[in-house]
């Protein structure tokens, strides 16, 4: 990672644990979503609805606590169920109704973006907000819920590692093990490469595809919960960049270690890479509006690298 060295030299203060943790924190939520997309990419699909699932989860968590006055664990459970349910619907649309994955999840994205605004008449949710009938919302974000977004574990330095980073690392390891080292993961890769052949060796292809979208839905809802806990309010505009950033991370992940296929380790690295790049640029006073351009450029270069290499590999194999 020449990038780390470069920024360490160029921007004083870049190379210290706090800065590193800041990068991790900034990529944790995107990274979690990206891991979900990776799972759908593995089975040869694509999930465009993750950003919308995350913001829906964010709004739902806020709604549960602030308006319905439920405790934190109920809010978390409801969000996770919602994520799994949306994943199930996505999967069924794709598998049973044979809608192409991009279109099915695009439709779902629109649906959710609209749906999450209906209960609040398009407003954000905050403690003490006034409701439609004129009364004031009594509920609050409980301390336990906010802990999810704001607590920091001690590691060498006091209050160093935030909870979302821990969650990100745990999910990354879990998905990495699942995809790379279990028979289910192996069959999912097989489906992505040749669905027909995999069905003909007796694998339940439809169930695996639905499972992939459910995993994606759940990880996206986890991302939304963590975001809600960090913000402490249900902000409808907060999830705007999530989709593009996480898809970019997953696609950049293709190029890591020359794998040329979706993989959890690559996705985590891709998310970190983008995070480091942006952090470094910020510390060198690059203006914020250049960020998307840089992300786009990184993505295009990574894709060129991946597909050019894999096409060359494919060619030399055939003779």
């Amino acid at each position: 990672m020449a990038l780390v060295v470069y920024f360490s030299l160029a921007a004083s203060g870049f190379a210290n644990p706090r800065s590193a943790v800041f990068v991790l924190q900034s990529v944790a939520i995107t990274g979690i979503l990206a891991l979900g997309v990776t799972t759908t990419l593995v089975v040869g699909g694509f999930d465009l609805s993750i950003g919308a699932v995350a913001t829906t989860s964010l709004m739902l968590a806020a709604y549960c606590m602030v308006v319905l006055e439920q405790p934190a664990y109920v809010a978390v459970a409801v969000c996770l169920l919602m994520g799994a349910f949306i994943g199930l619907i996505n999967g069924l649309l794709i598998v049973k109704f044979r809608i192409p994955d991009l279109l099915a999840t695009l439709g779902m994205m629109f649906l959710l973006i609209g749906l999450q605004r209906i209960p609040t008449q398009g407003n954000s949710i905050a403690t003490g907000m006034s409701l439609a009938d004129g009364s004031t919302a009594e509920g609050t974000f409980s301390a336990a819920f906010l802990w999810l977004g704001r607590h920091r574990f001690d590691l060498i330095l006091e209050r160093l590692i935030p909870v979302p980073v821990v969650v990100f690392v745990l999910i990354a390891v879990a998905i990495w093990l699942f995809l790379g080292f279990t028979r289910h993961g192996r069959l999912m890769y097989a489906i992505g490469s040749n669905e027909r052949a995999t069905a003909l060796v007796g694998a339940p292809v439809e169930r695996y595809k639905i499972a992939a979208y459910m995993i994606s839905g759940v990880t996206a809802s986890i991302g939304g919960i963590l975001l809600a806990a960090r913000l402490g309010r249900g902000d409808i505009a907060s999830g705007n960049n999530l989709l593009l950033d996480s898809v970019a991370a997953a696609l950049i992940g293709f190029a890591v270690l020359g794998a040329a296929r979706p993989n959890a380790f690559g996705t985590a690295m891709g998310a970190l890479f983008v995070g480091i790049l942006l952090q470094g640029m910020t510390m060198m006073n690059a203006p914020y509006y250049t960020q998307d351009f840089v992300k786009g450029a990184v993505l295009v270069v990574a894709l060129m690298f991946t597909f050019y290499l894999s096409s060359r590999r494919g060619q030399s194999g055939r003779h």
Binding site: R183, Y189, A190, S193, N194, R196, T198, V201, G202, R318
Partner: protein, 497 residues
């Protein structure tokens, strides 16, 4: 001495460390059909790709009609009159366009064509092309709705529209029935009379016997034999191609043990006489028949891909009516499917992962796959079937067709089965690999019933204890594989018996 169309000298081509062509010299004359023979991996396809401009040769010269020829890409090759019809048909046609557009596709891509497409003119030109080939297809039909044979004829017709000097046909009959192939041969005869030079690649002996003026054998990237004395000595050509004698599989038909698979009154096609048969322990039965003979209906019914229409099936005396592949597998009915590229091979996986795919559960320790056990099982199969590769971790795409097929079949030999179905196990497989596969299937036949489905009779004779001929959904004939009456089998398959 006839005019030479193509002269090539000292062509070399390698991919990385892999030397595929190691000095090819040949000369192809006008009005001559040269058959190129070679085992899989001998370099035929690469040579074709060099000729047709897909690859550039590393060394060597080519001359086309006396002028230096070194096409930079496929388009340039076509412009100079070297036209190739590739092996995989679907590379040659656009399924969503109609026949007329497909026939005129190259005309549309040429710069000489104006911006606007006149439907009337296009159709008129297309029908000229079709007439010249003796094609009888509705020009307005969508290509996706046509049979494989018709698509093949379209890509050949399109090649002909260029008025080629050299026409290269890469296994054009691999998916054609006998009558369709004969149609193609008539066209080839006509072209030969017109003075077109033709390079014809095939594994099928009947094609070669029918067409060849000259046979050139390739082996390990070099020319290992040229045969041009009539009558052509095919046995010697096969020797030159394989570098070894083919021992005509002398099969001693085994006495079958207790019946494992029995079918009673199963109807394979509407209105056809129902099929009843029984296959015993240790027996290898080959089914053969033409397109539409009911072979695919039988295969699909046995493997749970289509419901049992009528009658009953039994495996080990228990009723058997699988509703899907998983139910079939659960009863120990395994199948190596045909068309491995679409139905079998996982292109992104290496040999070990491809091999162990159906039985991943058996390779799981705790929650995780054991790479060590996958490797052990794969290496055992590589040794048993003689798969030519560097290691079990090679990507499946680096293997030649025959070796890929060995992996596909090895898949289902790792675990004991009750009934093993092999659908076209020799598709696109050279004779050497075919014998390896056949020998291994016969050697391991004890303990299961083996059913082999092939469309070529000689393949059936090479592997089976018993041969059953299907015609229009019914059993047309059955012979034990001893002193086979070939003519009777051919007659039964074509429904003349």
């Amino acid at each position: 001495m006839q005019a030479s169309v193509l002269d090539i000298q000292g062509i070399h081509k390698s991919f990385g460390n892999n030397q595929v062509l190691r000095g090819i010299d040949m000369r192809i004359n006008a009005g001559e059909v040269v058959v190129l023979m070679g085992a899989n991996g001998a370099g035929k396809s690469t040579l074709v790709k060099v000729l047709s401009g897909y690859h550039a040769a590393d060394h060597g010269q080519m001359q086309l009609a006396g002028k230096p020829y070194s096409p930079r890409d496929a388009r340039e090759a076509i412009h100079q009159g070297v036209v190739t019809v590739h092996q995989s048909i679907d590379d040659g046609v656009i399924p969503d366009l109609d026949v007329a557009n497909n026939l005129m596709l190259d005309r549309l891509t040429s710069g000489a064509h104006g911006l606007w497409v006149s439907a009337k003119k296009l159709r008129q030109q297309a029908s000229e092309v079709a007439d010249a080939m003796g094609l009888d297809i509705d020009l307005n039909a969508r290509v996706a709705d046509l049979s494989v044979a018709d698509r093949q004829m379209i890509s050949i017709a399109r090649a002909m529209a260029h008025a080629p000097r050299l026409l290269i046909l890469d296994e054009p009959t691999s998916s054609l029935s006998a009558t369709e192939a004969e149609r193609l041969f008539t066209v080839i005869d006509r072209l030969r009379a017109q003075g077109v030079a033709i390079v014809y690649i095939s594994h099928r002996m009947s094609d070669i016997r029918r067409l060849a003026d000259r046979i050139i054998c390739l082996r390990d990237g070099q020319i290992s034999g040229v045969f041009d004395q009539a009558p052509l000595d095919l046995t010697a050509a096969v020797h030159a191609m394989l570098g070894q004698a083919i021992n005509n599989a002398d099969i001693e038909p085994a006495t079958p043990g207790a019946p494992i698979l029995t079918l009673h009154n199963v109807e394979l096609a509407k209105g056809a006489a129902p099929v009843s048969l029984s296959v015993g322990d240790g027996e290898v039965v080959a089914f053969t028949g033409l397109l539409g003979s009911g072979m695919s209906a039988l295969v699909e019914t046995l493997f749970g891909l289509r419901p049992l229409s009528s009658g009953t099936m039994q495996v080990d005396g228990q009723p058997y009516a699988p509703g899907n592949v998983r139910e079939a597998l659960a009863r120990g009915v395994f199948m190596s499917v045909k068309d491995r590229a679409t139905n079998g091979v996982i292109g992104d996986f290496n040999i070990a992962d491809n091999m162990t795919l159906p039985f991943l559960k058996a390779f799981t320790r705790g929650a995780f796959l054991s790479a060590r056990q996958q490797r052990a099982s794969t290496e055992q199969m590589i040794a048993q079937l003689g798969i030519v590769c560097q290691s079990h971790a090679d990507s499946i795409g680096t293997l030649s067709g025959g070796n890929q097929q060995k992996v596909m079949i090895g898949r289902w030999l790792q675990s004991p089965s009750r009934v093993l179905l092999l659908d076209e196990p020799f598709q696109g497989v050279d004779i050497g690999a075919r014998q390896d596969i056949g020998r291994h299937i016969r050697a391991t036949a004890k303990g299961r019933a083996t059913l082999v489905f092939v469309s070529e009779l000689d393949e059936a004779i090479e592997i089976a204890d018993r041969i059953i001929v299907l015609h229009e959904g019914a059993i047309a004939g059955e012979q034990s594989n001893r002193d086979i009456d070939l003519n009777a089998l051919v007659a039964q398959a074509s429904g003349k018996a």
